[in-house]
């Protein structure tokens, strides 16, 4: 395939996924917005006023980057894992792409792009909603770091979702990872607190949680405060991207979980 044909194939996959996510927007966009509103209301407004400041900023302002990151992580992951699993398991729609000349790397790119778009889009909506809870004030320390971490995080969790989608043999396998792995990691990754407020031993557990590094860097972009240097967060993100691309490339190229 020449570059133009590759682009058309990629665009077809992305367009199809975006049309799907807008068609069922009540399932794709609304849940995260409602959940985030509840978090802002309870943790930010009701409890936040009693907690006071965290790392020198009021609690509501402190939790916003973490909650936006939570929306990006869960949406990017579930979009890719579910769409891939659906096309593989429910009606073998994945065969449409497998029989075509679309190369394996482009198939990966096509599926994860949908996850990135949804992750970043829902993250943006949650961020806009958060402004209503902060008196129309939004702190921005470094816009490039915010955008960079948002896109890289969506990329990482789209890739992770694709691994899940390829391996999953039942719909349970799609739900298990977000429920029992992803959500605890996000909650324990510093969405609601600074790592320095934890006991010493608990800090070590946080440092082995990859989500901590994403929230740390993202929060730095908004507030200019970080538990660890941002370059370490970027390094961890880069390593995760490379590792997950490698796994996906191997799975799709060899057809593991896809071809007999």
């Amino acid at each position: 395939m020449n570059p133009q044909q590759l682009w058309i194939s990629f665009y077809t996959m992305l367009r199809k996924d975006i049309v799907r996510m807008f068609r069922i927007w009540v399932q794709t966009f609304l849940p995260s917005v409602i959940t985030s509103c509840l978090y802002f209301l309870i943790f930010g407004t009701v409890l936040g006023s009693r907690i006071g400041d965290m790392q020198g900023v009021n609690y509501m302002t402190f939790v916003i980057p973490g909650l936006v990151m939570l929306a990006i992580v869960t949406n990017a992951y579930s979009n890719t894992s579910f769409t891939f699993f659906q096309s593989k398991f429910f009606f073998r729609g994945i065969d449409e792409i497998l029989v075509s000349p679309t190369p394996p790397w482009l198939l990966i790119a096509g599926f994860i792009s949908g996850g990135i778009v949804r992750g970043v889009l829902v993250g943006t909506i949650v961020l806009l909603v958060s402004i209503f809870f902060t008196g129309l004030h939004l702190a921005v320390h470094n816009l490039f770091i915010i955008l960079g971490f948002a896109i890289l995080t969506a990329l990482v969790f789209s890739l992770a979702g694709l691994v899940n989608g390829v391996y999953a043999k039942s719909i349970d396998a799609i739900n298990i990872v977000p429920t029992f792995v992803l959500t605890p990691l996000v909650y324990l990754g510093g969405v609601f607190y600074s790592v320095h407020s934890l006991p010493h031993i608990a800090q070590y557990f946080t440092y082995v949680n990859p989500i901590f590094y994403l929230i740390n860097g993202f929060r730095y972009g908004f507030l200019g405060i970080a538990d660890i240097p941002v370059w370490i967060s970027l390094g961890v993100l880069g390593g995760m991207v490379a590792f997950l691309i490698g796994i996906n490339w191997y799975l799709i190229r060899t057809g593991l979980g896809l071809k007999q």
Binding site: T12, D95, L98, S100
Partner: protein, 255 residues
């Protein structure tokens, strides 16, 4: 004469240990209407799956119009259109979108794909269903939608894996008339079917596969004449099928 499909020593052993193909070799000339026949589980769909990239082979080589599927995968796949055995499209998508998206995976721009898909759907009697979700189609309509999808990239080699299963007589005839017309225009067609009378009428060449091995192949006339000794199933007092059906039973029957 160039070959649309050339298979040499193809073997496939599934993870379960089942040996589905035992060194199959097969040649399909360009422009041919080729019938690949065999009982259930003989290996027909495995051959098609390997050729189209849906199944990994264990050993052997497959070339489509001279393009090796391992080393020139994209070029080989560009030549192929597949109508699979199972309905495999998103039932919540509109018919037109299913066909247009398939064109996109082959790199055909939407400006070209939309009029092409529209024409194909009209030709196959689905002109008034284009904007309906695929789930509203009847079984026969779904089969025709799959044919339209397989043709939208203008393949040189069309593979039909039991395309008329569950389709009524009138629709089947309509489909065969349409596909025969395409064959006359030069499209190479590989057909698997359990309707042996249809294969006998339509195909120029035939191969019969049983338990993962080709047990007979040649032109339809050659195969029929090789087995026309009139003794087959002579003792049978029950239903007797067409000539090809008798040959098929002789070569594949467990008795």
């Amino acid at each position: 004469m160039s070959l649309a499909l050339e298979i040499k020593g193809l073997t496939k052993t599934y993870a379960t240990g089942t040996q589905a193909l035992k060194g199959v070799s097969l040649e399909i000339p360009e422009g041919d209407f080729f019938a690949l026949l065999g009982p259930n589980g003989a290996g027909k769909t495995t051959i098609i799956g390997i050729t189209t990239g849906l199944v990994n082979k264990t050993a052997g080589t497959v070339s489509v119009f001279g393009h090796n599927i391992d080393t020139e995968t994209e070029l080989a796949k560009m030549q192929i259109g597949l109508v699979g055995q199972e309905v495999n499209f998103n039932p919540f998508e509109k018919c037109l979108n299913i066909v247009v998206n398939q064109a996109g995976y082959y790199g055909v721009p939407r400006s070209v794909a939309i009029p092409r898909a529209t024409q194909l759907l009209k030709d196959l009697g689905l002109g008034d269903k284009m904007d309906q979700n695929a789930m509203t189609l009847s079984g026969g309509m779904k089969r025709r939608l799959m044919i339209a999808r397989a043709l939208v990239n203008e393949p040189r080699f069309l593979i039909l894996d039991e395309p008329t299963a569950g389709v009524d007589v009138e629709l089947r005839r309509g489909m065969w008339d349409y596909l025969t017309g395409l064959s006359k225009k030069g499209l190479t067609i590989l057909l698997t079917t359990h309707y042996l009378e249809e294969a006998e009428q339509l195909a120029k060449h035939v191969a019969i596969i049983n338990k993962g091995a080709i047990v007979e192949h040649g032109t339809m006339d050659e195969v029929l004449s090789r087995h026309s000794d009139g003794t087959q199933n002579a003792d049978s007092k029950g239903y007797r099928g067409g000539r090809l059906e008798e040959v098929f039973l002789k070569l594949t029957s467990e008795k």
